[in-house]
């Protein structure tokens, strides 16, 4: 097991948690990425656009800042120090995956952050159920792609 990778995971997770706590403490909002950005794009009439847009700018600038600092703080598998990994498939696969991610998080009212981090921390039964379902279907999907079909990523 790669202890350095796990340690970076722990540190990164604390930062993600601090982000969620800060957003609740400052603005009273759940730090759910699909909710914040989905609503920023699709909500009519527009509302809360300024802080949501600022959140997106911050989210994109985080990895860029880590890259600019150098020092090898990235944690890409098999490439220590690299910050942003490559997509695990081509355009057709990513189109299908993206559509499912958008549709699923839209209908299911949340993703790994909203349900998985904030919802579990609130002990929300809906979020516990959603997190269990998306973890299991994701594990099943990877199993089929890698070990049943075998031609997967």
């Amino acid at each position: 097991m790669d202890w350095m990778a796990s340690l970076q995971g722990l540190v990164g997770g604390v930062l993600i948690g601090l982000s969620a706590v800060w957003l609740m403490g400052a603005l009273g909002r759940i730090a759910g990425i699909s909710g914040i950005i989905g609503n920023l794009i699709t909500q009519r009439p527009k509302g809360d656009s300024a802080w949501r847009l600022a959140f997106v700018v911050g989210l994109v600038s985080g990895p860029l800042l880590v890259m600019a600092m150098g020092g090898g703080l990235g944690n890409v598998a098999g490439a220590p120090g690299v910050v942003i990994g490559s997509p695990a498939g081509g355009v057709p696969l990513m189109l299908i995956a993206g559509l499912l991610v958008g549709l699923g998080t839209g209908l299911g009212s949340g993703c790994t952050s909203g349900h998985g981090v904030c919802g579990l921390a609130r002990l929300s039964p809906r979020s516990m159920a959603a997190t269990g379902v998306f973890l299991l279907t994701a594990i099943a999907t990877v199993y089929v792609m890698r070990h049943v079909i075998g031609g997967g990523v």
Partner: protein, 165 residues
Amino acid sequence: MKSTDANSTDANSPDANSPDANSPDANSPTVKTAAGYIAGLLFGLGLAISGMTDPARVLGFLDVAGAWDPTLMFVLGSAVGTTFVGYRLVFARGEPLFSANFQLPTKQALDGKLLGGAALFGIGWGLSGYCPGPAIASIGGISLPLLALLAAMVAGWFIAKRISP
């Protein structure tokens, strides 16, 4: 024709009460915007340092029958733990710093939309290794496949909105 600025919701409601009467400075749009940026930055730093901006790490965690990568378990565990403790401190204060109240989800039902949506999301996550946060945080390393995923994800959000407003 019609202006759609950030305040249009308030402007369109005739009997809008003014909740920001007591502390207009602390609740100013600039302060809220800065607070939103800080939250996004912390989140982006966390994803980058933990390696969640690498789909291979995420897929490695989901591949329980292969060379399992535990990193995501540590990320999720420490994020939930930090949030669990932090939320209790924040809620004990009674109200947020720069807003009138906490806006928490009120739905209780474990319905088909929640579970079906979560299942569809899980399939997309398993196919790509991208959930919405890491996908957007990876824009700094944009590639054609990532762009395709982001465009399709936004299309998915619009379709979900149409199916269930």
